[in-house]
């Protein structure tokens, strides 16, 4: 289990972050990805090659994350969630 200090921090985190009343976060992730995509390279030339990749990595990072979010959940998770109730006898 969590040490006590971690529990206290957990509570604080949920409170503070919750206060921002941000929904699940998908909307903001787009903004944040834009935010960190520094120096959108002006030379987005038609030429193929490595330089063209640069502006895409922030989007790629988000896609990486979203690709997992959108995966169907393995059944083991449904099983585990179902057991949570049953386990609290």
């Amino acid at each position: 289990m969590q040490p006590q200090s971690a529990n206290v921090r957990l509570l604080a985190v949920a409170k503070k972050v919750g206060r921002a009343r941000r929904p699940a976060g998908e909307q903001t992730s787009a903004q944040m990805a834009e935010d960190i995509a520094i120096n959108p390279v002006p030379s987005r030339s038609p030429g193929r090659g490595k330089t063209q990749r640069h502006p895409d990595w922030a989007k790629g990072l988000r896609q990486l994350y979203d690709s997992v979010v959108e995966e169907p959940l393995p059944e083991s998770f449904a099983d585990l969630l179902a057991k949570l109730d049953a386990g609290s006898k």
Binding site: R9, G25, W57, L64, K89
Partner: protein, 195 residues
Amino acid sequence: MTREQPGDEDVAFKRELTGVVSHLRAFARGLCGRPDLADDLVQETLLKAWAARDRFVPGTSMRAWTFVILRNAYLTEMRRNRFRGDYDETVADRILTAPPGQEGPLHLADMHRALMTLPAERREALLLVGAGGFSYEDAAEICGCAVGTIKSRVARARTALNAMIEEGNLPRRKSGHEDADAEIMRELESLPRGD
């Protein structure tokens, strides 16, 4: 703890918990890079979250709350050195195919490989802010550090990624032999553990 039947609070908690499982999986996979170990972490997180559900304040962010638990579980595993070696590139390549319609020249497997070369703290910060959509402030809360620290970590992470991707300095794919080794390691890891 004796509970006859799940109360309303438990039902509500479980509904919210269920809603963040996919995000936990995404965060965990970004942290440790291995789908199987990531899912182990998420399962552990769900159990811990459930055990600690009395301390969750309804109306606050379940995602942030569970991310802290996941992060702690990850750090504990790191200390136990379970994530020795590297992420499993064979699996990563199989899973990280770009979704249809993605025109970008950046392959997700390249992105993943680049991400996994970052020091854990920077990778985590970048994941929270750049992928998870948390503000710097929220990410700092989750990591238990100063906002400036998070900003610095994100800045360093993106500098490294820029260097790798812009300049084509992506880490090379491993040779077939190492892939085989990774596969063996993965098999070993997936053996039932006596928990």
